[in-house]
């Protein structure tokens, strides 16, 4: 169906307006971060910044504890990603390659756990960590984030291992590899991109998590960066430039990782689309 020229112009105009509407908040975040405090708090109408300064970034970085919060976030996030990935690979291989009792049951459990609202477990997990003496300790958050990302990791990796033809491993075994050798030399390298995609997704989930970070890390020194950003806005008073700079520093890793796996994410999450 060809559209007439005016129709196409109208549609493309709507497209551009849509792009501006969706792009604006992030644009505004970045430009505010580079404005001087005087410019930020001026009544002037300033959609396009006139000058660029790194003042806000230095002020954000020099806020007491900023680097500690950043390190806390990195430790719990990377720790959760690595542990979930190891447990996920270990689980995905037998799920996809072996026949054993309880296989279906475990897959069903993983599918349910992936959708279950972990928010509902806030109270018992808080009490569990309290009894274990892990409140205000990074391992508690690391464990919760691992549990949060593990079902998804298992499910994704199971799908990927399933997608690798078993004949490849069998060929390697004919050529004299053991089962472990065949896995290490054939399946694992082929699984590479899937491991990247899965761990990036876990990274984003854990990096963004807020509720458990807020509840399990009551001690101010042990906070993660999103909790600090949200609760310590007062530390900035009306320093919007500073908040925006801190938000930019916080958002950049997630943004970069997100762009890497963006395409896989759409197909991965809708892989279960119901047919008919």
């Amino acid at each position: 169906m060809r559209k007439s020229l005016p129709q196409r112009i109208a549609l493309n105009t709507v497209g551009v307006v849509g792009a501006i509407l969706f792009g604006f908040p992030t644009y505004w975040l970045i430009t505010t971060a580079f404005k001087t405090p005087g410019e930020v708090l001026s009544p002037r109408y300033d959609l396009i910044p006139l000058s660029i300064t790194f003042e806000n970034f230095t002020s954000a970085l020099s806020k007491p504890g900023f680097t500690t919060f950043l390190t806390n976030s990195l430790i719990v996030t990377l720790g959760a990603v690595v542990t979930a990935l190891i447990a996920g690979v270990l689980a995905a291989v037998p799920l996809a390659r072996m026949k054993f009792r309880g296989r279906k049951g475990f897959l069903f459990l993983v599918l349910v756990a992936q959708l279950a609202p972990i928010e509902a477990l806030l109270i018992p997990l808080y009490l569990l960590m309290r009894d274990a003496g892990l409140l205000n300790q990074l391992p508690s958050l690391l464990l919760v984030y691992m549990a949060l990302t593990l079902p998804f990791t298992c499910w994704m990796l199971y799908g990927f291992v399933n997608g690798i033809p078993i004949e490849l491993e069998e060929a390697a075994m004919i050529d004299g590899c053991g089962r472990w050798g065949a896995f290490r030399r054939v399946t694992l390298p082929l699984l590479g991109p899937a491991l990247v995609a899965t761990s990036v997704f876990s990274f984003i989930t854990a990096w963004n998590e807020f509720l458990f970070a807020l509840v399990l890390m009551r001690d101010q020194d042990m906070q993660t960066i999103p909790v600090w950003l949200a609760t310590f806005r007062t530390a900035f008073a009306v320093d919007w430039g500073g908040i925006m700079a801190a938000s930019v520093i916080y958002a950049v890793p997630a943004l970069i990782f997100f762009l890497i796996v963006q395409r896989k994410l759409v197909s991965g999450l809708t892989a279960g689309a119901v047919k008919g």
Partner: protein
């Protein structure tokens, strides 16, 4: 190829023994061991983690919801069973019902807005010229990727009373008196801003999913519809709709589940204020349990939330399992 098939018929052992018909006793024992125990050994870390951190707490949650568990019981370690008292207390509290209705209305509004905008965006993307389409897709991906807490700081800045760009723009457009207007002065207005920012982040995923369904439709079907004289609306109903309807069902369920339990944005904007007017159920649970130390009551609230979601989820998993892609083979 035949050799591969032969091996496939064989039980996958370690190295294929030289003469499969007469395995040495040792090889047989090893094979038996690995086939019987190896899968469970490999699954163990995952099972232990899920068991200890998801299943055990779920079990605990059920128990906690039937206990009186305030600071005193927490310190003394006393087990005080109160039966369904927590539930009657929560369900008898008018505040709970007010918050539940608010949460459901909020969720419905955000889901509806997300789906409508995303459907529009997906249909639009199909019609755009490649450059404009890419521009729109980049904007959507960036909106999607920005972390939730960063998003709340941006929206609060955009909606700032004095120097926010929104009030400045409204003033510039001739709406007098918006400079100094507070968007966070009352509950409905605060929730509208929160809803806007959730919608802004939720639209890209839904739009991309629907768009993926739309571009899966062969061009011939549209041509055939055109030849048969179908108008744009008829074409949408007869050609596009069947392609996106299953995806729409899935994303509707996912949106309902996600928007019902949203905590981060609601909390980060105004902590459920002003005067608790933007408190939703997850925030209510947090305030009762963690802030107020009434863990038993909060457990009952969590159970009620969980029940609502389980009802929603059951139907969703049923749909998932019926689909071709997800087969628990």
């Amino acid at each position: 190829m035949t050799s591969t098939k032969d091996v496939a018929a064989m039980p996958a052992g370690t190295t294929p023994p030289a003469s499969p018909r007469v395995p040495t006793p040792r090889a047989r024992r090893r094979k038996g061991f690995s086939d019987a125990v190896l899968p469970y050994l490999l699954l163990a870390p995952g099972v232990i983690a899920i068991g200890a951190l998801l299943i055990w707490p779920t079990f605990q949650l059920v128990l906690i919801s039937f206990r009186q568990l305030d600071l005193r019981e927490l310190v003394t370690g006393q087990l005080v069973w109160v039966g369904i008292d927590n539930y009657t207390e929560v369900l008898g509290d008018p505040e709970f019902w007010q918050i539940t209705v608010r949460t459901l209305v909020f969720m419905a509004a955000v889901v509806a807005a997300t789906l409508l905008i995303a459907l529009g965006v997906a249909l639009l993307m199909k019609q755009l010229n490649p450059i404009v389409r890419m521009l729109l897709q980049v904007a959507l991906v960036v909106a999607w990727a920005t972390p939730a807490v960063a998003t709340t700081t941006i929206f609060q800045w955009i909606f700032d009373q004095q120097y926010g760009i929104l009030n400045k723009t409204l003033d510039l457009l001739g709406f007098e008196g918006f400079i100094g207007h507070s968007w966070f002065g009352d509950g409905p207005s605060t929730l509208t801003v929160i809803g806007l920012l959730i919608t802004w982040q939720a639209v890209p995923f839904v739009a991309f999913s629907l768009y993926a369904g739309l571009i899966g439709v062969p061009r011939e079907q549209y041509e055939a519809a055109g030849i048969d004289g179908a108008g744009p609306f008829q074409t949408f109903r007869a050609v596009s709709w069947p392609a996106i309807q299953p995806i729409l069902t899935i994303v509707t369920f996912l949106s309902v589940i996600w928007d019902f339990r949203v905590f981060t944005q609601v909390w980060a904007v105004r902590q459920g204020g002003p005067d608790g007017e933007s408190t939703t159920l997850p925030v209510y649970m947090y305030l009762k349990g963690i802030a107020g130390s009434h863990f038993g009551t909060a457990g009952a609230i969590a159970m009620i939330m969980l029940l609502v979601l389980v009802i929603l989820l059951a139907r969703y998993i049923q749909l998932l399992l019926r689909s071709k892609e997800v087969e628990l083979k």
